[in-house]
């Protein structure tokens, strides 16, 4: 029986899936961050830019679809978070906007700012986007300062229902170390994924050596951030919501969620293990270049589990630290049953979309990218 509650959970599952795919696809950002760190000469940098340049639109489109799907299924989040944490979202957007033009502009005559500037825009997007997106997800655990009052619509002079409670408009999130650690964790992971992707996609001996040594450093950084974040998540109090929709703080809520939802716990552990396996095999097996095929799905699973952790089992996924009862839950922020049903039918196309993307990705990536190829075909 398809109930309203089921539809809400189904749509949260899709949001989790899109979130997981988005973080996996942040390998584009992670690899771009390495343009100058791993790319020691023009050939190598050109290889990196052209390799991510054939994938960046997928990441970008996933971000756009993530936004659209959130809008369609949980519009109160769209309204509260985007309208509230104004500066964070604007910053994220600006870094992506610069990224979007940089590929096309960087090597073309007449680009005004020169090749290096555009590559720096890619590097900037490469570090800022994962950090900011990660920090924003961090607030799913720590809360944000907003108040939602739907009665405001009846107030002719001041009808806005969502009100952010400080002037930093989202930038205050960096004041909480957990959010920063979360952002860094996502960033370090993105760089690891970026290195794994390049090792798989590009063929260039010197670049490969540098990528492997860079991977080692960022893997260690990631492990430190990951352990710190996980330990805190397990120990911190969480935002619980009861059957009446009343939100309260409960000690060890996320730990309890893991224990009460063994599938989510399993998904998280499998995901984490796959990420580690992918990286470790790449580091210790000579010439191994398929790490991304372990770590990529691993990232999708682990991130999905994190979204499920904050949304399911009576948890407020976008909590308000200013007014507990304003916190967003699946039930109080979702679309109507009719819309969720209509969109659930639409969602049946997703496997088909994923399939054709995967098919053509394989077609395009049968051979690793080489300088030789770039010299003889279309390139950025």
């Amino acid at each position: 029986m398809i109930t309203y509650e089921f539809l809400q959970e189904y749509w949260w599952f899709l949001i989790s899936l899109l979130g997981g795919l988005l973080v996996f696809l942040l390998f584009v950002q992670g690899a771009n961050f390495l343009i100058f760190i791993a790319g020691k000469d023009e050939d190598q940098r050109q290889l990196i830019v052209n390799s991510t340049g054939r994938k960046w639109e997928l990441t970008f489109t996933t971000l756009v679809t993530f936004g659209g799907a959130f809008f369609a299924s949980f519009p109160l989040f769209y309204s509260t978070s985007f309208g509230g944490a104004y500066w964070v979202w604007i910053l994220i957007l600006i870094t992506f906007v610069f990224q979007a033009v940089s590929y096309e502009f960087q090597a073309k005559q007449g680009n005004l700012l020169g090749r290096t500037s555009f590559r720096w825009f890619l590097v900037m997007n490469g570090c800022l986007a994962p950090i900011l997106i990660g920090a924003a997800v961090g607030t799913f655990f720590t809360g944000s300062e907003f108040v939602v009052n739907k009665n405001a619509v009846g107030n002719i002079g001041a009808p806005v229902i969502s009100q952010w409670q400080n002037d930093l408009r989202g930038l205050e999130a960096v004041g909480n170390p957990f959010n920063v650690e979360f952002g860094l964790m996502v960033f370090f992971l993105a760089v690891c994924l970026g290195a794994l992707y390049l090792l798989n996609n590009v063929s260039h001996a010197a670049l490969e050596r540098k990528l492997r040594s860079t991977l080692k450093v960022f893997f260690l950084l990631f492990l430190v951030a990951f352990v710190a974040v996980v330990v805190q998540v397990l120990l911190m109090p969480g935002f619980a919501v009861d059957a009446e929709g009343i939100v309260s703080m409960v000690d060890g809520k996320y730990l309890t969620n893991f224990l009460e939802m063994p599938i989510v716990l399993g998904l998280f552990l499998v995901g984490a293990v796959l990420v580690v396996v992918g990286i470790v095999m790449t580091l210790f097996k000579k010439g191994y270049r398929c790490g991304i095929w372990w770590a990529g799905p691993g990232t999708v699973f682990a991130v999905m589990a994190i979204f499920m952790l904050v949304g399911y089992n009576g948890t407020a996924y976008y909590p308000s630290s200013a007014d507990l009862q304003s916190s967003l839950t699946l039930a109080n922020s979702c679309s109507s049953e009719f819309t969720l049903t209509a969109m659930a039918i639409v969602s049946l196309i997703i496997p088909f979309v994923v399939a054709y993307i995967a098919y053509f990705w394989r077609q395009m990536d049968k051979k690793s990218l080489t300088t030789e190829e770039l010299n003889h075909s279309e390139k950025y």
Binding site: K55, E57, L58, F60, T61, V64, T65, G67, G68, A69, F71, A72, S73, P75, L76, Y78, S79, T80, F82, G83, W87, W89, I90, I94, F96, V97, F98, A100, V101, E104, F105, K108, Q109, G110, N111, L112, K150, N151, V153, G154, I156, P159, V160, I161, S162, Q163, R169, S335, F338, T339, M343, V346, V353, I357, F360, Q363, M364, S377, E378, K379
Partner: protein, 495 residues
Amino acid sequence: MDEMTLVDWSRLQFALTAGYHWIFVPLTLGLAVIMATMETLYVVKRDEFWKQTAKFWMKLFGINFAVGIATGIILEFEFGTNWSNYSWFVGDIFGAPLAIEGIFAFFMEATFFAIMYFGWNKVSKKTHLVATWLTGIGAAISAVWILVANSWMQHPVGMEFNPDTVRHEMVDFWALVLNPVAISKFFHSVFSGWMTGAIFVIGLSSWYLLKKRETRFALASIRVAAVVGVVGTVALMASGDSSGIHVAKYQPMKLAAAEGLQDGGPQAPFSIVPGVEVPGMLSMLATHDFNGYVPGINDMLNGYTDAEGNVHLSAEQKMERGKTALKAFNDYRALRDTDPVKAEQARKVLDENVEYFGYGYIDSPQELVPNVDLVYWAFRVMVGLGSFLLLLMVVVLWAEWKKKLEGMTWLQWVALLSIPLVYLAGQAGWIVAEVGRQPWVIEGLLPVKAAVSSVSVAAVQTTFWLFVAIFTLFLVIEIRIMINAIKQGPKISNK
């Protein structure tokens, strides 16, 4: 001038983003069809010339495409960042087409764009051709969904107000998708893209003719573009005609503003420019009947009875009923947990007046009139330039047919100098559509001032100027890069 308010800045920022976005999108829509046609000729005729021709226009397509994407993402998120109340109040309806756009169209564009660019040696000739077409079709599908969303703002259908959740909720998905306004708007927008692509290709090819280089390439490009352009522009005018009927029916205030019609009635005249009118023509265009009744601005403010005997309330009466609806809403919200009987009574009053809910926020009848001068002149710019450009394409096509184009330097100059005009026409079109809808963000349901986010004016001013700087920088760079690429040319032999 009064100091600009938060709503003004937020509107300005949205208009800036949408306006910039619409510089890049129509070229994407139109050029896609033109270069896909060229590649089809390559596959069918097995003539390398067509491949090189298609590839040159693809190069320009790619430069343009990137900036379209960059401005597009801002547009999507601005619904949340700057119009947060809107996002909740109608998100149940409005969010769906945006999500569908992403799932159906954007992934298609992204996937096949990469194949179109980098797949020449990686996939078969036919797969590549399919990829090129699918890139363009993906762009057109994305236009379907964003225009479904926009048309719903012009003519909201298929929803119901729910005071418990305090928003409008979708009750009929197909009413939303098959909204007649959406259908004509889709064709009108997509075909305006064909016209843009055609004028762009004809204009630039004319430059090669003027320079007496790449002649074969230029003439061949002109032939394809002019055919696409003439077909597109005829369809553009047909869809414009049905758009006119819809505006008359669903947004009479927009029509009155576009015509500067203060006092209407049957046999309403069409104004060519101030002082020059065609009697009865507006009635004909708006209702397809010379005696059709077209209300003027004053009629709508004072209330009127149309030809079918339907009584239309005055602005004051609508505002009164809007205030009643808002009061009933407040009563219902206050009483629903404590006094179900009284709450039910309030709910009944709300239901009776909910149609005028948005008017409850309006302070004076004058607020209901959009900027008449701007809409009036924008409409004339759109129609005037559109007609001129159609004529131009027909003449170019005729001249090329008669093999005279190569010698007609004046026509080549006119074509080259017409490139900015097609952009002006497109921008003017959106000004008519969007400024003409004011003060509503959703016609009759929600005025802009109740839709805006609660952000400081300073914050919006900052992002506005930031976007001005960024978009302008991108536009300048794009134009410079394009000029460079055009100067280099396709480097195809004239054989």
